[in-house]
Symmetry: C2
Subunit: 114 residues, 2 copies
Amino acid sequence: MEPAMKPVLRKVSAAEEFGAIEAFWTPRVAGELNGQLVKFVRLKGEFEWHAHANEDEMFWVLEGLLTIKLRDKDIHIGPSEFFIIPRGVEHKPVCQDECRVMLFEPAATKQYGD
Amino acid sequence: MEPAMKPVLRKVSAAEEFGAIEAFWTPRVAGELNGQLVKFVRLKGEFEWHAHANEDEMFWVLEGLLTIKLRDKDIHIGPSEFFIIPRGVEHKPVCQDECRVMLFEPAATKQYGD
């Protein structure tokens, strides 16, 4: 698989990346390693129920409180906490107030799932 | 490749993970996704010069200041900043005071390189 972004020898600052993000639910790719993308995203409100058949996805919360709704329970994650959604598991991200998140997922992942 | 750790449906707290780490330079595996490991590690002092022939490695700083020495320059990273060391690039992590870091690397990565 070709990497979606050529690795560059520079550090990346979350503050600078978020400064370049205007819209909610629009991930910004900030890095690539081993075919995985590092993305920053601003979340507010609700996203669709979806699942990724072949990719695990990680949410690492930087600011705010994020609820990951699963079909049988809710997972609440705050700053410096993360949650990995295994492939095939239906989930729905929800946050009342703005939440800033770092995402890790394969370059092939589609935002709305399969 | 078999994952080194079965994904579990629970959130992970950096504070709790660091509470379980006693020694410097001893990464603690906190999660696995897509064959990649999420690790927490406490750093202080200097590590060996090394490189990973086949794996890119990401350092995300949570606390403290970390210098990644490369052969031609130094990269200084602080909280909420990250740096990806592409495969094959020699590097040497250095920090005078304690630094707390989240690492992402493939499950197969050897700490001292190849």
